[in-house]
């Protein structure tokens, strides 16, 4: 089956803006409830429809709905309203310099996507908390598109504390983000393939405060992200899933 409907999920409008402009996506009035802050944009790449879902803004605080709760809802709505052949989650993230990450690098999530802030020390619940959602092998895809590969670990905080760091290390992660594992959970429930692209705004293992680096590099990272995202969409649109996943 050909990939004719790609839905991209992004948390922040600022992350999405260069992508919207470059592809000329149009904001649509969707079927979604008016009560929801979610914004939907639509366009076409080759023969494939491309829908972008952005979490929208919090009414009380006026900031983007980042984190795993809005990401869960957006993914459910993406699947149920647009029936995607392929989901993509694109966004900015922290990277570990010791594992090869630099500011502005774009990574594709590999191997597993995991949580680092769901600590439930009861057998079974412990593993459920971490999640470890399996990612297909995109090695050839990553090479062709010039993407670095790494395990993504997700938590609801932008800062880093010793316990999160310990969990991220146990997760063998190179990338720390705030949405991917929640999106991967819903995608897994519906058995929809997910490609995750993360552009590095800050180095978790540097001494600089995450929030300062994040704000400073958000625009560069979002620009780099849109280039790789558009290349990825061009690569996938009209192909079959089997054509983009490595065969053993």
């Amino acid at each position: 089956m050909k990939i004719l409907m790609i839905v991209v999920i992004m948390a922040m409008f600022q992350e999405a803006e260069p992508f919207i402009n470059r592809l000329g996506l149009q904001k649509i009035v969707s079927n979604l409830d008016k009560q929801l802050p979610i914004e939907v944009f639509k366009g076409k790449v080759n023969e494939s429809d491309v829908v972008l879902i952005v979490n929208g803004k919090d009414k009380r605080f006026g900031v983007d709905n980042v984190g795993t709760q809005p990401a869960t809802l957006s993914t459910y709505l993406a699947i149920n309203n647009f029936n995607p052949d392929l989901l993509m989650n694109a966004g900015t993230a922290g990277g570990f310099h010791a594992k090869g990450a630099d500011i502005g690098d774009v990574y594709i999530g590999s191997d597993f996507i995991r949580f680092h802030d769901r600590r439930i020390p009861i057998p079974g619940f412990k593993e459920y908390g971490v999640g470890s959602y399996k990612v297909p092998d995109f090695d050839q895809f990553a090479t062709d598109l010039g993407l670095k590969k790494g395990i993504i670990s997700t938590g609801n905080s932008l800062d880093i504390i010793p316990k999160d760091l310990e969990m991220i290390k146990a997760n063998e992660a190179v990338i720390k983000d705030m949405e991917a594992a929640a999106i991967a959970w819903v995608a897994e429930l519906y058995n929809i393939p997910l490609i995750t692209l993360k552009s590095i705004t800050d180095l978790v293992d540097s001494k600089k405060p995450t929030q300062d680096e994040f704000m400073k590099n958000l625009s560069l990272a979002s620009e780099n992200l849109q280039k790789k995202l558009i290349a990825a969409i061009n690569f996938c649109a009209g192909k079959t899933i089997n054509e983009i996943i490595d065969r053993a």
Copy 2:
């Protein structure tokens, strides 16, 4: 408008079981997608329909889908499938002994429901992360039903680490749970009143490991919970929202 449809959201089947048995709720095949693990039960109290939504089990790990991501999805589905006049979230939780909580106490969430594990140190995002979803005044309701009152703080971990403790204290919380703030977020988006009942399985400020206390007291706490939950439903069914909220 009378309360004729009450939807109760619970995370774990074991928490819900005494309630299901006591009210004789029947499992229904709902409109929900087959892919979703969520289970739905239905019954009637006086003239009001009562729907119970339980998050269901994780397919890979066989444990209940606890935490804020499943709670977000269940709340969205509760609202969109059953159009409730009133939402209730009932479950077990940790309590602070120093603030008056004891094992087996049942609390009603008061004042605000907050997150303690969404630390985003950027102005606006900081407050968004904590959430502070407003709870109406249920003082008379709490007195009539013999419920203790307290602020609930939500995070995705069962254990307690110093940073979470610091955030929970800043949140002025008496109760530490794993779902309420996510449910409150979605309820707020749809402007649906939410009553939150939490039964204490463990004391966060004791020396005993949370997981041991949780397992030991889950059954007692769930039993106490169902008594208060049924009393609360009896109190609310057929009344108007204004009749159960204190007027200044």
